[in-house]
Amino acid sequence: MHLRSSGVRRRLAEDREREDTIDLHLMSASATAAERAAVDAMLGRPESVWEGGARSAVDGHVAFGGYHAAARRRHLLLPALQALQGEIGWISPGGLTYVSERLGVPPAEAYGVASFYALLATEERPRRVAHVCEDVSCRIRGGDALLAALGHRADVVPSPCLGQCDRSPAVLVQRAGEDDVSLWGATPEDVTRYLAGAPRPHRDAGEFGVPQTVDRRSELRLLHRVGAVDPWSLEDYRASGGYEALARSLEMGAAAVIEEVKRSGIRGRGGAAFPMGAKWEAVAMSGAEVRYLICNADEAEPGTFKDRGLMEGDPFAVVESMTIAGIAVGATRGYLYLRGEYPIANRHVAAAIVAARRAGLLGDDIAGSGVAFDVEIRIGGGAYICGEETALFNSIEGFRGEPRQKPPYPTEAGLFGAPTVVNNVETLLNVPMIVLEGGDAYARIGTPQSTGPKLFCLSGAVAVPGVYEVEFGATVGDLIEMAGGVTGPLRAVLLGGASGAFIGPDLLDLPLTFEDTRAAGLSLGSGVVMPFTTEADMADVVRRIAAFFRDESCGQCVPCRVGTVRQEETLHRITIGSPNGSRRRDVALLAEIDAAMKDASICALGHTAGTAVQSAIALGLIGGAP
């Protein structure tokens, strides 16, 4: 029997051929003219009746393209649904039917995909909806108050972390037929104004959340352009050293670039800390005809906002880094998978891609080298899980964002079944530096096992929240001090994000390196350092983390799908209700739930869904001794 490790959701090319025999049964609902126009704007006009167009005389004799051609475009399913959402404000049965017809996707599967994403609505709702962040940082810095002030209205919904923890409270106003608006430091008046249709501010404010750029710019390697160089100008980017690394890498050749990356010792900054050089080499050596490079910009770990700052403030660096990486591993196409809650980053990077293409820095003949590489942005639909690399593949391919069981690993069978490198934005932005300065020089930065500069996201109870760049080796206390110190008596620090752990004030001297955190049984995660004072309602914060994982579990495997629910329920019982039996029994139950999620879940979301809760109990943050 032919085995596929994640069944219906992972279809390799040969399977797709086999499946190309179905006839679609469509709903009787038909799309409105506006819905068809929205979808056609994304997919192009249908060329014949065979893909949902009007019947012409010639269709009676010739089937152009037909179902097979349509189904090969399944990867455009999410963009097509987003086109409907963006123009119409929801995905109606008629709209979904038309998308199904255009792409040859069974309507039940299209609905399964549409209903998977929080930013897509499958029931009619107001054309403008404000997503108000209620996550760990915002809820104690005005988010809860903002939600309360806005009151109960159909066009205001609570949201998971919007990646603006440095400027709480954050709001995303999602608007049909108009630009989405990203708000920070938002007041109820701001929200109601944009809900009433006020135009988006002409130019996005130059606040990138990088306090160090004010007085310590010369010390910065990753952030040095942010806030200083016009993110819309290729000329300014070049004038500040941009695209020197691409030129250098083309001279060196792919093998030499990979060698330098290996020598640099750089590990991934997305949470898994995998050696980047090994990943690149595996794909480069695969010999596969088709390979992909993916820049994972689905930054959604609560408390994380560093990649947003990089993309907003230095978008050309993202494009250049992807180009170097793509060429090095032998990919001709790269995808930037960008979370849907980042409209400003989207505009900036999209403009950079256009400018780079026009300047011959992307396309069939990059900088006259004869090498081809191009980048496409794919926008997420509001799903934290799609930051998991295999869920990300499924999302791009037009399937539900459910992770795949590994092995096979992405370097063997990733996007569309091809060898694929997935790197986080911050990780990739180290590449120009490695190319220009050499792997050995890079390896001298930081500690022997954690090389290079590192970004940390400081938010919560610090005086000056923001992204801070340090060399590996700085301690928790160093970073808090850089951010102006704690705003009150320190109770605990959330390290690594919602999937990380709380630590007590006794660990302020912990160096934030891969090796030191691992030795302490912790993880750097995505670089979150979020202190809480003794004023904070820690039980509320921990309940929010549990609620987050319940909301964001894809639902595929039992330990995570049900375990996150049972964890949240148990936590509510022992913090605001009465325990089932005794508190001791419920606390033990939480540990048992955590152990099963850690051991038996398919992916890292389930593996880490109980980590913060367990650490909070160990630190006594949720009341009483265990």
Binding site: V8, A108, E109, G112, Y117, R550, C557, E569
Partner: protein, 323 residues
């Protein structure tokens, strides 16, 4: 001849063909493992996680149903970690789903692992909105009850009953409806997280969907969430009695393909039709005619109003007559 791979299972050396799964290797030496979402005639989706085992060198546990053996692999199937995860998976399911119709093997495994679903509190009452919940949002949990997938039964036609309060979301029906058998794609998983559910597009009735009533989804359902209407009505009337049923194997008479049928007969009435999973023609899958078109063989002058099954049959006929 495929190469032989040597592995150890709980200390025993085992040689199996390359490409064999850990589950296959376990079964080859009679060391069966529990499964729920696995079925011989479907592609493993490894979602239920009751078959997880410990593999040396792997940080998390590994699903035996889908992971293929590798040379020198050391597998342990009965460690504390394995027992704990399996127990928790069963408890998670038993506390959220009606498992009253699972098979005896599952019941035995649950007993063996000491499953106690009451630890999470009493089950919450059924919810009527599960088909309309939005991804990324949920109501605060009740403080005195464990949420469940309990919901009203979907009885929309004369052939199928869909009782999703019994659904463990094993994906088998989706696979059977889709690429593993029928290629109809009438149903898929919709929603997210605990609110994920098997659904047609916008939850339209099956009669409005692509469904062709092959019944292959019923054939693979491990929990009785999908059921023949006849079985459902007999169970409801309290007269379903498998001990009183005979199973007769025969060949479908409709066309020349040669599908084998298993006719489940109670009170001299066909109450259900299945096909053997290992049958070379069907792999357990049938079409609407073989699965449901059996009425003609028993319409031979019997008094149709004597047993409850006849009520069901009469109602099926009523539909056909109206058509």
């Amino acid at each position: 001849m495929t190469a032989s791979i040597e592995i150890t299972i709980d200390g025993r050396s085992v040689g199996v063909a390359a490409g064999t799964t850990i589950l296959g290797a376990c079964r080859s030496i009679g060391a069966d493992q529990p499964t729920l979402c696995y079925l011989e005639n479907l592609t493993p989706v490894n979602t239920c996680r009751v078959c997880v085992v410990e593999v040396a060198g792997s940080r998390a546990l590994v699903p035996a149903c889908s992971r293929r053996v590798e040379q020198g692999m050391e597998v342990r199937t009965d460690t504390e970690r394995v027992r704990h995860s399996r127990k928790m998976v069963y408890e998670f399911l038993a506390s959220s789903v009606d498992l009253s119709l699972v098979d005896d093997a599952t019941r035995d495994w649950m007993t063996r692992y000491g499953v106690d679903p009451d630890r999470f509190g009493p089950p919450a009452p059924p919810a009527g909105d599960r088909d309309r919940r939005n991804a990324g949002h949920h109501a605060d949990p009740a403080l005195d009850a464990a949420e469940t997938v309990a919901q009203p039964v979907k009885v929309h036609d004369e052939l199928y009953v869909r009782d999703y309060g019994k659904c463990i979301l094993c994906y088998k029906c989706v696979e059977a409806c889709g690429p593993d058998a029928q290629n109809t794609f009438a149903i898929a998983v919709a929603g997210r997280g605990f609110d994920a559910r098997i659904s047609t597009e916008f939850d339209v009735d099956l009669t409005q969907s692509a469904c062709v009533y092959c019944g292959n989804c019923i054939g693979v359902c491990p929990t009785g969430a999908l059921m023949f209407r006849s079985e459902f009505e007999l169970r409801k009337a309290g007269v379903w009695d498998e001990s009183a049923q005979t199973v007769t194997r025969t060949v479908c008479s409709y066309c020349g393909v040669g599908c084998n049928l298993e006719l489940h007969v109670q009170d001299n009435r066909i109450v259900k039709v299945t096909s053997p999973l290992d049958h070379e023609v069907t792999s357990g899958h049938l079409c609407i005619k073989g699965r449901f078109g059996y009425d003609y063989v028993q319409e031979l002058g019997d008094d149709l109003a004597t047993t409850p099954i006849d009520v069901v049959l009469a109602s099926v006929r009523g539909r056909d007559g109206a058509a």
